[in-house]
Symmetry: none
Subunit: 197 residues, 4 copies
Amino acid sequence: MEAKPTRNEARDKIISTACDLFYRQGYLATGINQITSEAGVAKNTFYYYFPSKDALCVTYLQEIGKHWRRLLEDKIDEYKTPYDRLLAPIEFIKQWNHKNNYRGCPFLNIASEITDPDTDIRREVIYNRNVLRKIIGELFERLKNSDDKYSDIDVPTLTDKYYLIIEGAITACQNYGQDWPFETARSSVEENLLTVR
Amino acid sequence: MEAKPTRNEARDKIISTACDLFYRQGYLATGINQITSEAGVAKNTFYYYFPSKDALCVTYLQEIGKHWRRLLEDKIDEYKTPYDRLLAPIEFIKQWNHKNNYRGCPFLNIASEITDPDTDIRREVIYNRNVLRKIIGELFERLKNSDDKYSDIDVPTLTDKYYLIIEGAITACQNYGQDWPFETARSSVEENLLTVR
Amino acid sequence: MEAKPTRNEARDKIISTACDLFYRQGYLATGINQITSEAGVAKNTFYYYFPSKDALCVTYLQEIGKHWRRLLEDKIDEYKTPYDRLLAPIEFIKQWNHKNNYRGCPFLNIASEITDPDTDIRREVIYNRNVLRKIIGELFERLKNSDDKYSDIDVPTLTDKYYLIIEGAITACQNYGQDWPFETARSSVEENLLTVR
Amino acid sequence: MEAKPTRNEARDKIISTACDLFYRQGYLATGINQITSEAGVAKNTFYYYFPSKDALCVTYLQEIGKHWRRLLEDKIDEYKTPYDRLLAPIEFIKQWNHKNNYRGCPFLNIASEITDPDTDIRREVIYNRNVLRKIIGELFERLKNSDDKYSDIDVPTLTDKYYLIIEGAITACQNYGQDWPFETARSSVEENLLTVR
DNA sequence: CATGAATGAGGGTTCATTCAT
DNA sequence: GATGAATGAACCCTCATTCAT
């Protein structure tokens, strides 16, 4: 006998379609009509699974956030030394943007569209950023513990600085449609944050 | 005889209203109806002066860009030494965001909404960023020429690094609704970019 | 030269169509789509003239209220003696209902649909009822002053009693789809309110 | 062994929820979604028990009709003399409206929403009104037989007149959101219908 | 210069209902 | 008996834009 057919096929299709459209076109520029028609489901099938467009947006951010984190951690694990691993996030986000036509960060873009900070959508953005900062902090921590040369670094401070540089690179890359901001970011980290005097 | 009445009073009102609304609510979330009604002009008065909403957006970015640049240069001129002047942009943008409820940068926000890079709107964003980078470059240049201590700095590289840090601080400040990213940015510039070894 | 062409032709058509449909089908059962399509105007022409469906409803009640009052007063003026004039409202409303397929009173029907009493719609209903009661009161007053036989009647009390009987006749006529409640109402007024002991 | 669990628990919950919502919000303004969700049953559980929303409405009217009749007869039985019993309906309906925020009569309200007289819903309304009139007729009959003073009254005529006054009071009370119409109704009955000359 | 009037297309959301299981 | 899933049609309303005057 067959295993149960995939549950929530329609729901999954809605989410994946939304992930694509929200990221490529923006949240406000994408209508429910387009999502459902491209997902191949009736409009009300959408409202069966989601109470509102905003709720779908939250789900979209959660889904893309999980995906993004998995890819980021995979990329980090491609490297062995704590030093290389620390630089992996820059490499990862560079490649992400390159692949996605320099569309920038799904979370930052949404935050530009949804101006009210007191919303679940905006809270999801902050959550994602905290994840990123936590990962960076752990990478610094491991570097500090692995090499006497870095035993004196101030991890929280470096984490914040690194985080700012990444945010800046994402934004600059998106605006210029070029990769160089990530090269600059890497130089900045290597030469200015990690060079012990 | 009377002096000619102020020309383009209606046009000016439209622009100033748009500046306010586009920045506070976002571009897509702001309709022509709201702009004209809040500006107190007829809807067709708008279409007399602007061929489209997009065209108004370009004008909006130009106007706010000029305004922004003037304020930035004024802030720089508040400081005397090249060193302090170099840090002025961070201070200025910090205050701007603080005053504007952490709404972030008008240009970056628009770029998140308008996904097509091949538009006048997006080109206006790039122009503004080039202005910022040029100003930063000049500030570095002057620092280099004014103090032997900095005579060896690589201005273009430092400019890009500084620029990234500012972009990152703007974004982080917007997302967290807090001022600390600008303090971090300042530390990053002072301790990591300007500390000669 | 021609007189200015009729202004607001579209608006008038919308109102007259709404008057018809709201009365015949009910307020909630009538959609904007149907109104505009039957009025032969674009949907947005409606929103050019009215901020909302509720606002149209208020206008509808005002228009039908004016019309209704004019017809009522015309009917009253068909009669000469104060006694006959006093009975005219019953006659008028009976004929109105007969002509309108016993659809009842536009105002009372709306009040059954719009449950929130704190709305402009409901206030319009009350206004109409106050008009009716005022007219009845004046008819009683005139009867009292015209005939010694009625010199002792208590006008306000009789007005309220008369008003209740009319409301009841309207409702009963609507439910049964028959004219007899108005005959009963007339008997009630003649035999029980106007028969001096 | 356990007694059989209460049959049709879900059905009962649907009906009681509908009774509440249809009366408070109106029939058209209340959706199946709201009913099922507030009743805590699946939407299709509704369609298992009722073929349509209209059918539920009929059941609603029957249920509230039975309830209403029971309460009315209880109120009548609170009084001993035929005279007092005759006035009990007015008192009862006054209290009903007072308790229910002057929402008026469930039957009359429905009849305002459902314009087609040739429906089960509308027939249910008529049935309820016939019940009311029959009860009033019986009260008059008993009064007539119990007291020589009233031995000559014309019961059918008085019944219709009484009935109209009650309908009017219900409507007036609903529109004005006040109790006075029932006081007026009582006066009307006592002073004008029951005062033998 | 400026306005009132009008528009087609689409916004997000809810309607009562039905299907297969 | 009861459920999860899905639907087409319609809801009220707003979008950016254009016409004639």
